[in-house]
């Protein structure tokens, strides 16, 4: 069997020549497991589903109903998951710990909801809990999942906080949330996420030098997935509707998916900057989904949306032509 040379071997030699390796006597690291994205996705989705079934088991077995009972049970599960993550070895224990941690997070979220009866407070708590979990959990897939869930929860919490009249509870006959307030809710979550992802890409060498790659690499991945796919979580509720049963009313909410489209395009750019084809593919898929969402919403006439898309298309093609002319000798 032939053995392929490790790509890092050439890099090590080149760095040695430049005198940039601080300890030339240290042996080269063995190649890491190098988990492809789809294996991570398989493990993540399976672990998440297992967590939901574990939640069902724990809920039926212990039947917690009070805030305290839910919180204690959730904390116990998280503590067990944390201990297993820290001490356990092997993929099986890690998958089991992932399932337990998901069930634990759900129980703690339920505890906050039972205690506060506030959707916004619950979503905030879930966001904070997941952000904290990122800092302590020593595994890649849970960090990606927690970043994604934290972004979605932050989006939901901001929306629920701003919809002070609880428009979402009163049904679709009510007036839509005011434009400025809804825009504020979207930008307050997704602009920081976009800026944060950009900052992580720009300061990559700095945090790698600080030894933070185990934490910040999955955070960057989670942020880019969230930007590509999850920003509809911040859409006002009417903006998530597809086919109206009531009279089709004119509403700016139908233009909302264009914001998500912009977020997905930004994720595409940043994924390109870190040379991740999997994340670029995710961003492209997200962008196509947002365009379909835009088509399916009926708040604005299809004619108006047609004009928007045609103008956008002509503008993009014009820019492409201008760029081509500029580069031509």
């Amino acid at each position: 069997m032939t053995t392929a040379p490790r790509p890092t071997a050439a890099l090590e030699a080149a760095l040695r020549q430049r005198g940039l390796l601080p300890d030339p006597l240290r042996a080269l690291p063995e190649p890491g497991p190098g988990r492809p994205w789809f294996v991570g996705a398989l493990l993540g989705i399976s672990g998440w589903l297992a967590g939901l079934f574990a939640l069902g088991f724990v809920t039926l077995a212990f039947r917690p109903s009070s805030t305290a009972a839910l919180a204690v049970l959730g904390l116990v599960l998280l503590a067990v998951a944390f201990a297993v993550f820290r001490t356990g070895e092997g993929a099986f224990t890690e998958q089991g710990a992932l399932a337990l941690s998901i069930a634990g997070h759900a129980l703690l979220g339920a505890a906050v909801y039972v205690g506060t009866e506030s959707g916004a407070a619950t979503a905030w708590a879930v966001a904070v809990l997941n952000a904290s979990w990122i800092a302590v959990v020593p595994a890649r897939v849970p960090r990606i999942l927690s970043t994604l869930i934290a972004c979605v929860a932050a989006g939901l919490s901001m929306r629920l906080l701003l919809e002070v009249d609880h428009h979402y509870l009163r049904g679709r006959q009510e007036e839509a949330v005011p434009l400025a307030r809804a825009l504020l809710g979207w930008t307050a979550v997704w602009i920081p996420a976009a800026v944060g992802a950009r900052a992580l890409v720009a300061t990559e060498a700095r945090w790698m030098a600080a030894g933070l790659q185990r934490v910040l690499r999955p955070v960057l991945t989670g942020l880019l997935i969230a930007l590509a796919l999850a920003s509809p979580a911040s859409h006002p509720l009417d903006g998530l509707a597809f086919w109206e049963t009531a009279a089709q009313r004119t509403s700016w909410l139908a233009l909302w998916p264009l914001l998500s489209l912009a977020a997905a395009v930004w994720a595409l750019w940043l994924a390109h900057r870190v040379r991740s084809r999997a994340l670029m593919g995710t961003a492209i898929a997200g962008a196509l989904l947002h365009v379909f969402h835009f088509y399916a919403l009926l708040g604005v006439t299809l004619l108006a949306k047609s004009v928007v898309m045609i103008v956008l298309g002509l503008a993009l093609l014009g820019l492409a032509a201008a760029l081509r002319r500029q580069e031509a000798p």
């Binding site: 392929a4 050439a10 492809p36 398989l42 004619l303 898309m309 045609i310 956008l312 298309g313 492409a320």
Partner: protein
């Protein structure tokens, strides 16, 4: 010594591990990222922007045209709408003739022409109320647009075509079995929805086989590895969907096309046989060529999904909910761990052998 400029580009995780192992300071990491080509050059940035603007522009423009057709604007007569779409189609085709592929303009023009073909068919259906089902529209679109996709010689064009074919199959699988006249005939033979899922799976696997056959030939650039993954993922999707429907919903009378009583059990057996043979063929081919682990992962995902459905059905009627939830959680943890272990073993082995692409 291996030259970093010509060596395969190491993934970020290898660079992370390398930097961590040597505790490199920032200047060394900057040099590492530069040497490894981990950051796109300005030329690569510009290429992405150029391609993105061109592709985004064509897709937005065609989406606008599709929206326009759907709007059914009365200010323009039917003949005017047809003329508009046909003029655009002619313009796109003319652009492709003037600047044929592999020129980027030609590729984009043919992609636009393919998408406009669908819009034209939709307008035809909307105007003349042909009574055709939606899946027939997509199938006709795929058929009529095939020459344009072939002429484009571009993986993106093929991806659009694959998407259209699979939307058609998904519509057919989701809605029609049991009510279409075709199924009246096939149903009498004991073949119902399972046959359809089997056909959709096999069709996608045939496309995957074509992509695999193209690898290493001049057509390899057209049948990119990601295109092969797309069709194998679609095949896995239909296989898993069909199997789960067969396991969990076959006695559900409220769903059209799924009333598969004992007299149609042959369909389920056929689907199982097809899935076993197809999974075996995918596994055998992938293990022989050792280029990509993705197809094995897709087979693994189907097995996990089917196992979950079987376990849920088996325990659902015979044990408590607690026991069922516990067993399902344990199964998912165990089976996904085993799948991850097998897949990572293959990745390590094939990477060491240098066969992994």
């Amino acid at each position: 010594m291996v030259d970093p400029a010509t060596a395969p580009r190491p993934p970020r995780r290898d660079l992370d591990a390398f930097a961590d192992h040597h505790r490199l300071p920032r200047p060394a990491i900057e040099a590492l990222l530069d040497l490894a080509g981990a950051r796109p050059t300005r030329e690569e940035d510009l290429r992405l922007v150029r391609r993105g603007l061109g592709l985004g522009g064509v897709l937005s423009l065609v989406a606008g045209v599709v929206f326009f057709v759907a709007a059914n604007w009365e200010a323009i007569a039917v003949s005017g709408r047809f003329a508009l779409l046909e003029a655009l189609l002619v313009a796109a085709t003319a652009a492709a003739i003037l600047r044929p592929p592999p020129d980027r303009v030609g590729k984009l023009a043919l992609l636009g022409a393919f998408l406009l073909t669908g819009a034209l068919l939709a307008l035809f259906g909307q105007t003349y109320q042909t009574g055709a089902d939606v899946y027939e529209l997509f199938l006709a679109w795929a058929g009529l647009g095939l020459p344009l996709v072939v002429a484009a010689r571009w993986s993106v064009g093929w991806a659009a075509w694959v998407l259209v074919v699979n939307v058609s199959l998904a519509l057919l699988c989701g809605w029609l079995p049991g009510v279409h006249i075709l199924w009246t005939v096939l149903g009498g033979l004991g073949l119902g929805a399972p046959l359809l899922f089997a056909v959709a799976t096999v069709l996608n696997l045939a496309l995957w086989a074509a992509c695999e056959a193209a690898a290493g030939t001049p057509l390899g650039a057209v049948a990119s590895p990601w295109l092969g993954r797309l069709v194998v993922a679609a095949a896995a999707g239909f296989a898993g969907w069909g199997a789960i429907v067969q396991i969990l919903l076959r006695e559900t009378s409220g769903l059209r096309g799924l009333e598969l009583g004992p007299e149609r059990a042959g369909g389920g057996a056929l689907l199982a046989l097809v899935l076993l043979v197809a999974g075996g063929a995918v596994g055998r081919h992938t293990l022989r060529h050792r280029r990509d682990v993705f197809p094995i992962a897709a087979v693994g995902a189907v097995l996990i999904a089917v196992g979950t459905a079987l376990l849920g059905r088996g325990l659902g009627s015979e044990s408590s909910l607690e026991a069922m939830f516990f067993a399902l959680a344990a199964w998912l943890v165990g089976s996904s761990t085993a799948a991850g272990w097998v897949l990572m073993g293959l990745v390590r082995q094939w990477r060491a052998e240098g066969t992994l692409t």
